[in-house]
């Protein structure tokens, strides 16, 4: 039969038709599987394809002072981000916008690092872009696939350099911090608090980021926003600091007249609330917003005056004469001395201890003094003998108990613990077990030697003196809601009360113009800390009114030489606080205080049989 015989042909035509029908049934079946059976799954995929979540950063909580003066707030700014299908597209858009942005190679490298970390999310290119740049980019938006410009809240500190150390600043969270989950809820690119209250209360301030879905095409070009905000961001809590900004500003204005470096703290001894805390030199935390300029950063880090250091809680200084009150309290507590008790050897300008001669700051000598008078005149010879009477071990023990060995627990990150030996083993490891003598006791007795305190630590002690109950208040910058108001009891109220009047006498004797400050009775103690690197550091810590103290103000001025000049600053601050900004101080206040420069620390020499400390 020929192949083209009609029968043969129609048989094959039938087979061919069956084949064609079968092929189309298979194709139809494949479409049925995708479109009918799998349609839900693919609908979701198609939706995920085009809807991208864009994070809406939450505005940080506002920080205000006790009178609701705004210290930290948010202002709108423009953020430029990129979202791309793949690396080639990402680089292409990044290159094309480089011309219109001021991206340098460092910033570009940072952008690429961020892209590598999370290529599927919008990648931050620039925070706080200037308006002109944003306008230029928006005009050419369709030629920059994947470009996202959005307004974001930007941190702003209206009085930056006045409260810089207190507030800290904000910065982008690092990869390590994300990995360690130190900041709950933070994501790549989140801004978190660094230092100060921003760091301490970050979890309360940060708020909850929102999310917005945008329709994007395959190249990442934003087409439109899908129905406005999907999840509105929630602003962080408002933080009310205990700070009195008016006083803080006054301190900041006053300080430069007395020195370049140092710190001032004003504190309410009744509650432990910090009213002012100033550290000089200062810096402007606004510089950190949107990334700190690398040149400025290295300048700050290299600077000898270390502006980033908060000297109020991070600076360690020999406590010097203000320490004498601590020793006096220890002696009273232990019963080793009474207020009118005298020492066997009167002050003739120095103290012979075995083969060594320890000087008093007043070379002509103070004569025979009671403890009250010794405090008032800051006589070193008296306190050498008192130190020996109390004994080294007891001094260390009592000092630790009062709180000179640990942090105060102020609500600021980075507080430095004072250097104060816990036991005499410290000296063994420092000098070797036979390498030191009781000279260390004499050094410690006058606030020198192996003892370095922070201003905040000394402030807590003077707040203890300013209180009636023998409790040392914990300093705080934000009123804690759930903290018990019971501060630790460290001394008997009677002994504390005894020390108050000689303190008042320190100021009373020296002053001729006290009465002019509206009958303000100020109690306080000067000090001059030996500084082997240059001019001495000056201290003054005072409180007022002496009868019922409402405020303790302490200051340390590096290279301030004399505590007496600093006393003038502290007095003015106290007056400004208690009498208000308009108080008339009459003539400029001049203090004539004993210039009780502490003698240099005695050199610690190897042990000899005579001088051996009983251990």
């Amino acid at each position: 039969m020929n192949w083209n015989h009609p029968h043969s042909l129609s048989r094959r035509a039938f087979s061919a038709s069956v084949f064609v029908g079968g092929v189309f049934l298979v194709l139809g079946g494949a479409f049925f599987r995708l479109q009918v059976l799998g349609s839900d799954q693919y609908a979701v995929q198609s939706r995920n394809n085009r809807l991208r979540p864009v994070v809406l950063p939450a505005p940080r909580g506002i920080i205000v002072d006790r009178n609701r003066v705004v210290l930290a707030t948010n202002v709108p700014s423009y953020t430029i981000s990129l979202m791309a299908l793949n690396e080639t597209a990402f680089l292409a858009t990044l290159d094309s916008i480089t011309k219109y942005t001021s991206l340098d190679s460092v910033m570009r490298a940072a952008v690429l690092r961020r892209y590598e970390r999370s290529p599927d999310d919008p990648v931050l290119v620039m925070r706080d872009a200037p308006f002109e740049m944003v306008a230029t980019l928006e005009e050419r938006k369709s030629s920059f696939p994947g470009l996202i410009v959005q307004t974001e809240p930007k941190r702003h500190y209206p009085h930056g350099d006045i409260v810089s150390h207190l507030l800290g600043y904000v910065g982008e969270v690092s990869e390590e911090e994300l990995a360690s989950r130190r900041f709950v809820g933070a994501r790549m690119g989140s801004l978190v608090g660094r230092g100060g209250l921003e760091g301490q209360y970050d979890s309360r301030l940060r708020g909850l980021d929102g999310e917005r879905l945008v329709v994007v095409d395959a190249l990442g070009r934003t087409i439109k926003d899908e129905g406005g905000e999907q999840l509105a961001p929630q602003q962080g809590d408002t933080l009310r600091a205990t700070l009195d900004f008016g006083l803080q500003r006054y301190v900041a204005g006053l300080f430069p007249k007395f020195g370049e470096r140092g710190a001032v703290i004003a504190m309410d001894p009744r509650s432990g609330e910090i009213l002012a805390m100033y550290s000089a030199p200062t810096y402007d935390p606004n510089e950190f917003i949107g990334g700190v300029d690398p040149d400025l950063w290295s300048e700050w880090l290299a600077s000898e005056s270390t502006p980033l250091l908060n000297r109020a809680v991070q600076g360690l200084y020999p406590p010097a004469s203000p320490w004498k009150l601590a020793l006096a309290l220890m002696a009273l507590e232990r019963g080793d001395a009474t207020l009118d008790g005298k020492m066997p050897i009167q002050c003739t300008g120095g103290y012979q201890y075995f083969s060594r001669y320890f000087r008093c700051w007043k070379s002509s000598g103070h004569g025979d003094l009671t403890l009250a008078e010794a405090i008032e005149q800051s006589c070193d010879v008296y306190f050498y003998q008192l130190g020996l009477k109390v004994g080294l071990g007891n001094m260390l023990l009592e000092g630790g108990r009062i709180g000179f060995a640990g942090r105060t627990g102020i609500d600021l990150p980075g507080e430095v613990a004072p250097i104060f030996p816990a036991t005499t083993a410290y000296f063994d490891s420092l000098y070797g077990s036979r390498g030191w003598t009781n000279a260390v006791t004499l050094n410690l007795a006058i606030g020198q030697g192996e003892n370095s305190q922070t201003l905040i630590s000394m402030m807590r002690f003077y707040s203890l003196l300013a209180r009636d109950d023998g409790r040392a208040p914990t300093p705080m910058l934000v009123v804690q809601e759930e903290t018990s108001s019971e501060f630790p009891l460290v001394a008997s109220p009677e002994n504390v009360a005894k020390l108050r009047s000689p303190l008042e006498m320190v100021v009373a004797r020296g002053t001729a113009v006290r009465s002019r400050i509206a009958n303000l009775h100020i109690a306080g103690k000067t000090g001059t800390a030996q500084n082997p690197h240059g001019l001495d550091h000056g201290w003054f810590i005072g409180f007022a009114p002496a009868e019922a103290p409402e405020v303790v103000v302490g200051a340390i001025v590096e290279f301030g030489e004399h505590g007496s000049s600093i006393a003038r600053m502290v007095t003015q601050i106290i007056a400004r606080h208690l009498l208000g900004p308009d108080a008339d101080l009459g003539r400029p206040v001049t203090w004539v205080l004993p210039s009780d420069s502490v003698p240099a620390s005695a050199v610690v020499e190897p042990d000899s049989a005579l001088q051996r400390v009983r251990r």
């Binding site: 035509a13 061919a16 139809g28 349609s39 198609s46 394809n49 095409d217 070009r221």
Partner: protein
């Protein structure tokens, strides 16, 4: 039923494919950010107009003249393919290949499309001139050479998809002239061997099977040895051939096997096409409303992946209707071929059906992952000047065959 005149069902079927084709192409150009596909539908209409004129002209050409012209046409198209290999340029989505003939920068067309038609005519002339259908592998040899030359040249461009189409033409025409299915299987066996070579176990089983088949069919000894030898050879050279493929071809095959290997690059097309089709659901997202297409997720939405546009916007219902229309079209072609007045035109129409069917199956099949992505156009839907004109010329030829058979009274009933 009228005994003379134009074959109306064929005209109707073609119209029912071309009109939605234009609509789909128009929709493919409607994206949120304009692409090159935006105005392409207007150019497609111009190509259709040219094709219709061409079809009208070829409709007037007597088949005797066509049969006489065929060898010249075949030689000319092979020459063009050779020329393409030397001076060809790439274009659009296949910029890396040499498939276009251009003079002074103006692209005139893709010789591969013309070669398809010329090969159909040449093979039909060869088969129609014989008393019997080929009955052994040796008798298949001339047919193999006729198809093999353009297939090889197209494959060298490299254009894997078009090469595949030549195979479709080859097998459909041989089937139509009554070559035994076993012989066809034997002819296809080296290709199957090549594909199976990637799995040693499967390939081993295949060699055993082909050995048994040869013993059972009992062809000439030499023939059997040659076939068996080719099967073994294919298995051996498979790896070398694989290495010889361009990397994008390797990737296409790999991503056919598993598109998730690299979902952002090679597998992207397949995945996005599937998402477009699947998210269309039963009723579709509505004309012009396909999000995958609008937002440029769908690649080559005006050429290779035009069908997912239809599937996304009209859903399963639209797919069923359009597949039904395609099936009707093929049934008409089979009917025309069956009633042809002479052997030459009979085989030509079978070849045309084979050409079209291969295009439809490969193109639609790749969008649902039944076929690898080979990038061949869907008749009457995909944008492409050369192919559209060739398709319409084929329709012109088929209409002439139908006309002749009615005129010749060769029709039943």
């Amino acid at each position: 039923m009228r005994r003379t005149g134009i074959d109306r069902p064929l005209l109707l079927a073609v119209a029912a494919l071309i009109l939605p084709g234009i609509a789909t192409l128009y929709s493919a150009g409607q994206t949120d950010f304009p692409t090159i596909a935006a105005g392409i539908w207007q150019r497609q209409i111009i190509w259709i107009a040219i094709g219709v004129v061409g079809a009208a002209v070829i409709f007037r050409v007597p088949y005797r003249l066509l049969e006489w012209l065929t060898p010249f046409l075949y030689v000319a198209s092979v020459a063009l393919l050779l020329a393409t290999l030397v001076v060809g340029t790439g274009a659009g989505t296949a910029a890396g290949t040499k498939s276009w003939i251009a003079i002074a920068g103006v692209r005139l067309g893709q010789p591969a499309e013309l070669a398809k038609l010329a090969t159909i005519l040449m093979l039909a002339r060869h088969l129609a001139s014989r008393r019997h259908q080929p009955r052994s592998a040796f008798e298949l040899l001339p047919s193999g050479i006729i198809v093999g030359i353009p297939l090889l040249l197209v494959g060298l461009q490299p254009d894997l998809g078009s090469a595949l189409v030549f195979l479709g033409i080859f097998f459909s025409m041989l089937f139509w002239v009554g070559v035994s299915p076993w012989l066809l299987l034997l002819a296809a066996s080296p290709i199957i061997s090549l594909i199976l070579a990637f799995s040693t176990g499967l390939w081993g089983a295949w060699i055993v099977l082909i050995t048994v088949l040869l013993l059972w069919l009992r062809p000439y000894i030499l023939e059997a040895l040659v076939m068996w030898g080719m099967n073994v050879l294919m298995g051996v050279v498979a790896l070398r051939l694989w290495m010889g493929l361009a990397s994008y071809q390797q990737n296409r095959i790999l991503s056919f096997l598993n598109p998730e290997i690299d979902p952002r690059a090679t597998g992207w097309n397949v995945i996005q096409a599937k998402v477009a089709i699947g998210s269309g659901g039963l009723l579709g997202k509505g004309f012009l409303e396909g999000t995958q297409k609008r937002l440029a997720f769908l690649p080559s939405q005006h050429t290779d992946f035009v069908y997912p546009v239809l599937a996304e916007e009209f859903g399963f219902l639209g797919v069923v209707v359009s597949l039904f229309l395609f099936a009707m079209f093929f049934f008409v072609l089979i009917r025309v071929a069956r009633h042809a007045v002479d052997t030459f035109s009979c085989v030509v129409v079978a070849g045309i059906a084979g050409l079209m069917l291969t295009h439809v199956v490969v193109n639609v099949g790749m969008s649902v992952r039944l076929m690898p992505v080979t990038g061949i156009p869907l008749p009457f839907y995909s944008y492409g000047g050369s192919f559209m004109v060739i398709c319409l010329l084929c329709i012109g030829l088929t209409l002439r065959v139908a006309w002749d058979s009615r005129l010749g009274g060769y029709l039943e009933g």
